[in-house]
Amino acid sequence: MKPILRIQNLKKIYHDIDGEVCAIEDIHLDIYEKELVAIVGPSGCGKTSLLSILSNLESKSDGTISFQKENVTLGYMLQKDALFPWKTILENCLIGLEINHTLNEETKNRVIRLLNTYGLGEFMNKYPDSLSGGMRQRVALIRTLAINPDILLLDEPFSALDYQTRLALSDDVYQIIKKEGKTAILVTHDLAEAISLSDRVVVLTKRPATVKKIYEIHFANKSTPMKNRRCKEFNIYYDQIWRDLDVHL
């Protein structure tokens, strides 16, 4: 099978007046269609840089990023919800379409359908300040899905939330991604989240980042992220990846 996204020899150097820092040394990674790949690594290892480069927010220093087909749309879900306080929930979700000049009756109805499907229908015409943190983050996901991206990039999408909301929402997001049939790359520092949500876990080394190891996650009875956490394989993966991360204080 041909990968939907192929990253080769990726390198990123940051420059400032005090010198340069190599954030990403040499990353090779293939992403296949409809899989959910989690990227974990020690903090500050360049996980977010990787997503920023993929989504064209930052330029790469070297290497190639190639997509299976032309005009692949990427959807980037940021760590914080970044909802515009002066726009309603629906207007917030339409902003990507407005910018791509693809807002019409059809695409608008698709967004309304998404909002209705994922329990935000009644808040459509409310403003973000009347929503809870978990709901705001769900709106952010739908805003990302609105442009119908081929690949979703999720940058620690749950880290700003409290623990309970986080568990519940990661279940939700998992369902949404699978139901909409999306390919997704999830960056997280939470190993449990990575293992329970994803099909593969990519472990990065300390800065400058390279790929240390890739785990294929198999559960004997794979289910929702919440239930996956109770599988016996879960702890085995957790221990292995924890050792790979090589955390020293």
Binding site: S55, N56, Y76, L78, A82, F84, W86, I99, N100, I147
Partner: protein, 264 residues
């Protein structure tokens, strides 16, 4: 209509009472001041030749109105102020936009902006008259010198303090710079822009009066200057009172715009 709890009724009553109190006090202050002023001038406690009196101000006001001079003087000052206000707002907004667009230009002209803004413009008065001419253009120019730079600085400051995270969001959708400007920078700076208008209108009025004091044949600034030259204190004080009324109404216009913008 739904019936409110007793506590809520009490709350509404309290609010109403407080508003009534504020308004009564506001009116009382001006009335007491006027009475005291009138009384003092009639008893000879103050010299009416130097400090006039409310009746004399009122008489001057009436005679100005009778000679059809009232509206022409007030009108010309209002006209000049509004003209420089609009010009300064538009120029300020445009230049602030250019500076936001191109950080290098912003860095280059930053020290010049600071110097031009803090320079006491009245020092330029004679030069402006020589360069621009002894006419209304000088007055507008003076007002623009006073109001434009501060407008540029304030609007630009607002633009660059827009939440970077929201800019990142738009960039993740591949937004072009003009889209970021129209969809994020302008709407998120709405309050700041209105505040700039508030500052700008009073700056424009200050500038216009300053210009009129230097060079003019009409306007409230001219009346004040003329009055002081012929030692007609009644005329000077009447003009100052009129100026106060004009600035109050201009402020109210901005408040009106603010409320209108808030609703949208």
């Amino acid at each position: 209509m739904s019936t409110y709890s007793l506590e809520h009724k009490e709350f509404l009553k309290k609010r109403k009472r407080n508003r009534l109190l504020v308004m009564t006090c506001q009116i009382l202050i001006i009335v007491i001041f006027l009475i005291f002023w009138e009384f003092a001038s009639r008893c000879g406690m103050i010299n009416t030749f130097l400090s006039s009196s409310p009746t004399k101000v009122f008489q001057t006001f009436l005679s100005l109105a009778k000679q059809n001079q009232l509206w022409s003087h007030v009108g010309i000052t209002v006209y000049e102020t509004l003209l420089s206000f609009i010009l300064a707002s538009v120029i300020g907004f445009l230049i602030a936009t250019i500076l936001w667009w191109n950080k290098t230009i912003a860095k280059i002209i930053d020290p010049y902006l600071t110097v031009l803004n803090s320079l006491p413009k009245v020092a330029l008065g004679p030069l402006i008259i020589i360069w621009v001419g002894a006419n209304m253009n000088s007055i507008i120019f003076m007002a623009l010198m006073i109001s434009t730079f501060i407008t540029i600085i304030n609007i630009y400051q607002g633009f660059i303090s827009t939440d970077h995270y929201l800019i990142t969001l738009l960039r993740s959708f591949n937004a072009k710079k003009y889209q970021i400007f129209l969809k994020l920078i302008v709407p998120s700076n709405k309050n700041n822009l209105i505040n700039c208008l508030k500052v700008n209108i009073s700056m424009s009025l200050i500038g216009v009066i300053m210009g009129e004091l230097l060079v003019s044949k009409k306007g409230l600034g001219y009346l004040i200057m003329y009055g002081s030259q012929v030692f007609n204190i009644n005329l000077v004080i009447t003009s100052v009172v009129l100026l106060g009324i004009v600035s109050y109404f201009m402020y109210e216009i901005i408040i009106f715009i603010e409320k209108k913008a808030d609703r949208n």
